[in-house]
Structure formats: C-alpha cells, structure tokens
C-alpha cells in the first residue's frame, strides 16, 4: 500500500513544484531544504513543461503494474530551463521495430498529465507527468 507516499508527492507529480536557491539560483526537483552552496533560502518554482530528450532506455520487462503498457520507454528530459528530470515517454506507436527511428536524441517533447499506474484492480489511480514527442 503506497497511498500515503503518493499523497505526499502530489505537488511534484501533478504540478512539477521545485524550489530555487535565492543565493545561487540552483533549481532542485524534488525540492531540497539546503542548497549545495549552503544556503537555506529558497523560493518556490514550477518547472517548464517543454524540453528535449537527453537519453532514453526501453524497459521490456517492467513490474506487473506497468506490464500492460510494455515496453516502457524512460527518458532523461532536459527542460527549457536546463533542469533534468526522468519521465516516461508516452503516446508512442504501439508497434515499434526500432526506437532510434522514432525517438531522436534532442527531440522536442512536452510534459503531459497522465495516469502512471493503478494500484491493483480496486486501488487508487496514480497520476503524474510523462512526456510525449511534439
């Protein structure tokens, strides 16, 4: 049962809420309490929703909550402000022979709001961001 953890992660999963160090401008996602520069003075910051693919991997045997969506493509996305996040690539063709033909390094993506997985048959649906090619 991971419902409490899902609940505490809502600001990040739903709204991409990060924080930004007021001293050096560094952005942390998820937010941190102390910056690498030592400062504890942060301002709230929302990540941009566009970016590009830095790299990706294809997971062909995911855990069972993701099994129906397999293969799962996970990408490191560099957002417009330089922040890097990991996100599942969605809205891919259902049959792909060669992913390198479909997903180019540097390809532009937008972040979208999707169902990440469902907890068993009767559990909650967990929502959050994924990315898709523009």
């Amino acid at each position: 049962m991971l419902t409490p953890r899902v609940y505490t992660e809502i600001p990040q999963r739903y709204r991409l809420e990060a924080n930004k160090c007021k001293a050096c401008g560094k952005v942390f996602f998820p937010p941190r309490l102390v910056c690498t520069c030592g400062s504890q003075d942060f301002e709230p910051y929302r990540l941009p929703t566009r970016g590009k693919i830095v790299t990706y991997t294809v997971v062909r045997t995911p855990g069972f909550v993701f099994k129906l969506q397999k293969p799962i493509v996970l990408a490191i996305v560099e957002l417009e402000d330089g922040t890097r996040i990991m996100a599942q690539v969605t809205d891919l063709p259902p049959v792909v022979e060669d992913y390198s033909e479909i997903i180019k390094i540097g390809a532009e993506v937008e972040l979208v709001f999707r169902k990440i997985f469902s907890e068993q048959e009767a559990g909650i649906h967990v929502y959050g961001y994924k990315c898709r090619l523009i």
Binding site: I10, Y14, R15, F64, V65, K67, L68, Q69, T90, D91, P93, P94, V112, F113, R114, K115, I116, Q120, I124, H125, Y127, K130, L133
Partner: protein, 352 residues
C-alpha cells in the same frame, strides 16, 4: 453585466481506429457505416488516458488562452459518464493538478452525454450570480460501446473546457435554456460495463424531440432565426442526426460543418457538442453568433447562444486548435486487437 467564455480548450488523444477495422471484426459493411452514419474514424484514449487526464489537458489549454491566474477560479465542474472512480471525484485531481485548490468548489456531473454542457451551465451561472470571478466547466469522456454494438463505431475519447468570466470575454453568453423530460432511451445500470439503448426509440422521442425543442425555444427567446447564426452545433451521436436536426430547424449544412467533428473523431459523449464549440471558436469572426444544443439521454438538452467578440483573435492561437488535433499528423491507427487491449475489452490480468 456581460458574462461569457474567457478561455477554452479541447483535447483529443492521438490514437485512432477506422470504421473499416471495426466493421471487419463484426462482419458489418463498412460503406454502410461511413455513408449511413457519416463515421470514418474515432479517437481512442491511450492506456494512460482517462476522463481526468483529458479534462486536465483541455483545462490547461483553456487557461493558456484565458491567461488568468488559476487561483482565481472559484469552481471546477467536470461532466462525464466515464469518471475513473465510482466514488472519488475526478474534479479534485484536476483542480489539484491545475493548482486551483483549496479555495474552490468542485463537483462531478453526470447526465449521459450532456454532463459537459451542464458543467458549463452551472459555471456560467455562478459568474452571472456574482458568486465568483471565474468558473470552469469541462465535458470529457472515454466512452465505451459493447463489442459488436453499433455504438462501437462512435464511442470515442476527448473533451473540452471553458472558463467563464466577465472580463476579456471571447464569446458572450446571450441566452441559455434547458429542456428536460424523463425518457428511457439509453442507460447503464451500476456494475454493468456497457450501456443499453432502446434501439430505434433513441431517435425521435429522445434526440430529436429534445434537441429541436431546446433549439426552438432558445431562438424564440432571442427573437432569432437560423439565418442569424454563423454557426450551430448539436450533440453528435453520429454524423447524420445533427445534420438532420439542423435541416429540420432551417440551418444550412455550411453552418454546421465547422463544429461537425464526429465523422473524424467519434462521439465524445459529454465532450461532443462542447468540442464542436471549440472548433467553431477556433474559426469564428468577431460578431458571429453561435447556437449550441447538447443532448443527454434520460433525457435533456442544454442550449446556449454565444456572440463572439474581438478578443477571440488574440487568444485562439495560444493553444492547440481542435481540427488540428483531430486531423493531426501524429495520429496513430490501431488494429482491433490493440484497440481491445487499450479499451480493456478483453479481461486483463497483469498479476498472472
């Protein structure tokens, strides 16, 4: 005080299935579907899409066009017959994701295919009553027809969101009217997967009676005739019903074509006429009048008369347009096997 739409958005998934592909599965004549019902292909939600995610995307686009602070939205209503939970609102997830919580009134509406126009109606009424500065009404669905049922050709996925307010209006609401009776034309009992419908009964005493009565009364209130409207959009269970309703009322097909999204998108139920309205707003000129009449089985119709303002020209390019999404070059076609998996039409037991 003028009240109207200040931002609008539609979202249509990228997956499609063609009428031919469904017809092949069930031994139907695809030409009869295409010519008889004017249905060519329909949208299919991705496996990670549902009424909540579709509502969010439509709302996000509406906010982009409105250019307002989401915190100023005082109410968020989602109309759907495919809310992902039987108990737990769709609206709370969407409101949280948009950053509207906690100072917001949220409710999920249900009324077959007219739940979306209901959400719009209540959102509009709040603003008109002065209860709040802005209110959002959304209609979205990931509709299902039973395998082999005629509804399978039309039941599609998509939605539209509208933010109502008093400043920077893009389409003023001039008149509203609702026509409602108890008509058992289409229903789904609790715990049933697929809806039942009363066959031929669904045409005359249900769809046509309610749509025509609502449109006539609304035009009477406005002292208007069909020639006074640049566009009209009626609920679209297929491509034929709305065109016939329009023709009975005296509208020409040219007035209907822009909003007639169903042949290439399918019937998005609560999102049907609302999505048609977004397609019209993408194209309408300042001063144009629009007639919109929804229909929900059970049965009822909500009608609106809108007048487009100059501001439409400033906002329409700030989010993806409806026809661009319908005819997107990003469309991906599914065969029936993949469609059945995407829609959970086969028993899926990933834990085994």
């Amino acid at each position: 005080m003028k009240v109207g739409i200040v931002g609008y958005g539609a979202y249509i998934p990228r997956y499609r299935i063609k009428a031919e592909e469904i017809a092949k599965q069930w031994g139907d004549d695809p030409e009869a579907i295409k010519n008889g019902l004017d249905l060519y292909e329909k949208s299919v939600p991705g496996m990670d899409e549902d009424t909540i995610t579709i509502s969010y995307m439509a709302a996000k686009y509406a906010l982009q066009r409105a250019g307002i602070d989401p915190k100023e939205i005082g109410a968020l209503y989602i109309g759907s017959e495919s809310h992902p939970y039987a108990v737990k609102p769709s609206g709370t997830v969407v409101a949280e994701a948009l950053g509207i919580t906690p100072d917001v009134h949220v409710a999920d509406f249900e009324f077959a295919c007219k739940a979306g126009s209901e959400a719009m109606f209540v959102a509009y009424s709040h603003v008109k009553a002065g209860n709040m500065k802005y209110a959002m009404g959304i209609g979205a669905d990931t509709s299902q027809g039973a395998p082999g049922d005629a509804l399978e050709y039309s039941a599609a996925a998509g939605g539209a969101a509208f933010i109502f307010g008093t400043e920077n209006i893009v389409a003023e609401v001039e008149y509203t009217y609702s026509f409602t009776t108890d008509t058992p034309d289409f229903w789904r009992r609790e715990h049933e997967f697929y809806p039942q419908h009363a066959g031929r009964f669904t045409g005359e005493p249900a769809y046509f009676k309610h749509v025509l009565s609502c449109a006539r009364e609304l035009m009477k209130m406005a002292g208007a005739t069909p020639q006074d409207f640049a566009y009209a959009v009626f609920h679209m269970p297929n491509g034929k019903f709305p065109v016939r309703a329009g023709s009975i009322l005296g509208f020409k097909k040219e007035q209907l074509l822009t909003g007639l999204v169903v042949p290439w998108m399918g019937n998005t139920y609560s999102g049907s006429s609302p999505t048609g309205l977004t397609a019209i707003l993408d194209e309408a000129k300042p001063g144009d009048r629009i007639l919109m009449v929804s229909f929900g089985s059970g049965a009822g119709s909500d009608g609106f008369i809108f007048r487009v303002t100059d501001r439409i020209l400033e906002v329409r390019d700030k989010a993806p347009k409806t026809w661009e999404q319908i005819k997107s070059d990003k469309r991906m076609y599914l065969d029936y096997g993949l469609y059945a998996k995407f829609r959970g039409k086969i028993i899926l037991r990933p834990e085994l």
